[in-house]
Symmetry: C2
Subunit: 234 residues, 2 copies
């Protein structure tokens, strides 16, 4: 099966959660947004009104949006799913909680919403980020740390006994947070999550992808942005 991914070309953003799964599995896919004229193709696809926002992933039969649902859809064919329907639902629940976390991370630099530039909301962003670092960041991280600790199949992955699309996404969120808020992240005690992220980078195909030029660097236009004025002191 060959896939077509529609996402903006210049940011890792939410598209990267899908890319990590496709790359880890060695799946065949076209990254439409990064072809010549790709931004226009993505915009035209959105203008048809079937999907509210990218990423959108298509195979020959279906067109699917919303990161958590895309991953839920491809996890089994890509062999990145846990065994058992309860475990699959648990994976999806944690992925949806990760999506909520990602929304809150985005809002740290955009508390006035996505339609106002960061430069026009810097002071408010400082207040929002300060509350985020004090309360929400440790609460979310403790929850995921606890989920690894309490995984009945062992404390290697978030759900079940092998790596799933959820673990790849967890790695991406930790990487993004380390980029965006390095000082705040240095204060978090999350040994299980750190080990999990390291295991992800050691996977053969994923490691090769991370070292390749297909992997987009974090920058100042995505979810995870590094504004030193928003972070705490080192």
């Amino acid at each position: 099966m060959s896939y077509r991914l529609y996402y903006w070309p210049s940011i890792p953003g939410r598209g990267e959660f899908v890319r990590l799964a496709l790359e880890d599995a060695g799946a065949e896919y076209m990254d439409i947004g990064r072809l010549s004229g790709g931004s226009n193709t993505v915009a035209e696809m959105l203008n048809r009104g079937e999907h509210f926002a990218p990423p959108v992933l298509e195979d020959d039969y279906e067109s699917v949006s919303q990161v958590a649902q895309i991953l839920y859809w491809i996890a089994i064919p890509l062999q990145l799913a846990p065994d058992g329907k309860h475990e699959l639902r648990r994976m999806h629940q944690l992925q949806l909680t990760l999506a909520d976390f990602v929304n809150e991370i985005h809002d740290t630099h955009h508390p006035l919403g996505p339609s106002v530039y960061y430069e026009d909301q810097t002071e408010v962003a400082k207040q929002r980020t300060s509350a985020f670092i004090a309360k929400r960041l440790p609460k979310f991280l403790r929850y995921f740390e606890h989920s690894v600790e309490c995984n009945p199949a062992g404390d290697y992955w978030l759900v079940g006994e092998r790596c799933t699309t959820l673990d790849l996404s967890m790695f991406q969120v930790l990487s993004g947070l380390d980029y965006a808020l390095p000082n705040a992240m240095a204060r978090q005690t999350i040994p299980q999550l750190r080990d999990l992220a390291k295991r992800v980078t050691q996977r053969r195909r994923l490691g090769a992808y991370l070292a390749s030029d297909r992997r987009l660097a974090f920058n100042q236009n995505g979810i995870f942005r590094h504004y030193p004025e928003l972070d705490v002191e080192a």
Copy 2:
């Protein structure tokens, strides 16, 4: 099958999306948070660390959180699902987009995040709500209006040819927005969504529920809050 719903007792909040499905289907359920000492029971359940936030719905075999996933889980047994796996995925995708919409609606009065009181962020909330009303509100509503118009099974419901959990949730979002931002909502042209919401209220069991004292009124502690200073002029 009998269900147990865990949610805070004094707000409709996100729990109401689950209640509407259970009530419309005439399902047997215990609303744990509204029993004597219910808030404590909900808090104790959360302290076990399996779920990040309520609502949580349990049957005798499983405990599930995240509104969209709960509805995806119960839609088929409650006969509130469309036929076909593509349509089921489309339902879930639109429900996830509705969840994003709900998050943005909540953020209009809490742009500094959930850990700061409204009274301490009123001025920022005015800016956020103004941007929301100008751009995001019409964009989301147009998307859902278009989804009803383009439903290949007819323009009665969002997906498929009968009412699903998604349509019940759409009704709840429109009701909440009418309560929170009546003037901004009066300016929206959404005839298909208005007809859909009316059809929902005319359903036998759901209509009886809406007229009963089990239905919690919107108030100033939930997702949908009416602060006149945030709305536009009439």
